[in-house]
Amino acid sequence: MLLTLAWKNTWRNKKRSFIIILSIALGLWGSLLAGAVWMGWGESMVNTAIERDLSNIQIHKKGYTRNKEITNFIPRGFRILKETQHIPGVKAVSGRTLVEAMAASPTSTFGVKIVGIIPAQAKKVTNIHSLLRQGTYFRGRGRNPVIIGKKLADRLGLKLHSKIILSFQGMDGSLNYAACRIVGIYKTNSALFDQSNVFMKQPDLFRLLNSKPAIHEIAVRTESSRIMPKVFDALKTKYPGLAVQTWKELAPEVALISAAMESYTYIFLGLILFALLFGITNTMLMAVMKRVREIGVLIAIGMKRGKVFSMILLETVLLSITGGVAGIVTGGLSIAYFSHTGIDLSAFASGMETFGASTMVHPFLPLDMYIALLVMVVATAILSAVLPAWNAIHIQPSEAIRTY
């Protein structure tokens, strides 16, 4: 009945209650959506990086990331590549031969990394094939076909089917030159990646290196991000002599930004709720002030101060939860809608590409964040109720009945 009384009291002044519910709902809706956009942006950065080149897990020879010498290839790399494919939870693997090189055109030169791949394997691990702006993904015949990024093509003044000269050190230390034909030009969301990665088929690269087949990197895609830790553990146990790293270790800046987005969302929500706290407190103070006589009568007839405190607390919590649920539901629906359609932030494309994020952001908020938010709303309501409830329990019944 106390709950009924609190609920009915909440609706005594409909206009007042609607205003505060609306302000809570709007505040939460806005902050949820903003948070979801940030989270979506962070998620997009992670996904973009994983799909573009990072993959979920990478295997290298120990020390390779510090010293990217061509001779630092994975011992028995192809066997390990084959074995990795059969580890439960692994979706696809791709072996990469990595060679630091200098790319030259008739007008300019630029330092690049040649990524030797088996196109059929790489297609299952990265999405470069789907980001081609011109040309094909190693279809057709031709000598030394390569795929380069649009940024590199622009820097070197090259076009599709242009010739590009790559110079690099061979396994034996000799300097090699290769004239390659551009068969495809890709464009990812990262200009940095586009200007420094040249893709070549492994057989061509091995021929140019005049070496036996060798790979420096095994990129592993897992069936889901949830299963990644299991696969990681399995690989780490199976290959203790190799460097097995997740994308978080390989690109800590991406992991940091992704984590920061979650923190920013909580901070933003906290600030909104902190601002709302004063509005709710004010509303409840007004509600108590208007009911001094009634509360005095309730205390007079035998309602203990603890129950009066609970009643005001319940009213505040009910009011806040109504607004909170309205905000969370509308926020959730908006997020679901924009998550489906995406939000086009191409107006800020250049800025976003610097961070390697997609210009189409799909807002996203994990379920635990909704639950945490509901807890935050209740905590805000309880805090907001303290002062009004404190005032209510200090009402002197005789004075309240006589004066008000």
Binding site: L2, L5, K8, A300, I301, R305, K307, I401
Partner: protein
């Protein structure tokens, strides 16, 4: 042992520059089942005296004993609990909970006493029927006339099965309904053996009271038992 015993009770308010002595050295005994009116002009201390009897105010001097318990020494929560179980209140402005129906208003005090739901509902309906509002149990205060609201207030006061009911100017806001309310209170006094103590300056109420205590400037100037 008298139901209520005031021994040399005084009450001084120090809220203004000049202290106001609202009640001066009042000694009074009220027995069970009495129907007592505290009368006097405005400002004579009637409401203060009722507040002291009801434990809503503490005396500056003297003691207020209800069934032998000195309520002026009780701690705040114990005093609230004492009021809940021993005293029924009827106020001049009815003071019902506006968002509750008549039945809920009567039930609420029993809820505070932790009486089971079925018992609460049964007793609330019985009481509302006893005050002649059996057909208005689901009406909210705003849907009831002043007289009807005061009847609900009386039913609420009786719901906790108190030892006595204190009514502060119960007919002050009533015109035509005053006499029927008094008849009802008289009936309840007899049928339920309920003690009523009320303040009034309404001659119709004074006429029907069996004991009339008159106050002037906070002091008892007469205490008359009539044949009413």
């Amino acid at each position: 042992m008298p139901l209520i015993e005031l021994d040399n009770v005084s009450k001084t308010y120090n809220t203004t520059a000049v202290p106001i002595q609202a009640v001066k050295n009042v000694s009074l005994k009220i027995e069970k089942q009495e129907f007592t009116a505290i009368v006097g002009p405005s400002g004579s201390g009637k409401t203060t005296l009722l507040n002291l009897i009801g434990g809503l105010d503490k005396p500056t001097n003297g003691s207020v004993l209800v069934e032998g318990t000195d309520i002026s020494t009780l701690k705040p929560d114990a005093l609230i609990d004492f009021r809940l179980h021993h005293i029924g209140f009827v106020f001049q402005a009815y003071n019902l909970v506006p968002v509750f129906s008549a039945r809920e208003n009567v039930e609420f005090i029993m809820l505070l006493q932790k009486i089971p739901k079925a018992e609460r509902e049964k007793r609330a309906i019985e009481l509302l029927e006893a005050v002649g509002l059996g057909d208005r149990i689901d009406s909210r205060p705003s849907q009831l006339s002043g007289g009807e609201q005061q009847r609900v207030a009386v039913a609420r006061a009786l719901a906790s099965r108190p030892n006595f009911v204190l009514a502060d100017e119960p007919t002050a806001n009533l015109s035509h309904a005053a006499e029927s309310l008094l008849d009802m209170m008289n009936r309840l006094n007899r049928n339920y053996e309920m003690t009523f103590v009320f303040s009034t300056h309404d001659p119709r109420v004074i006429k029907r009271s069996r004991r009339v205590v008159t106050l002037e400037d906070g002091a008892v100037v007469s205490d008359v038992t009539t044949a009413a």
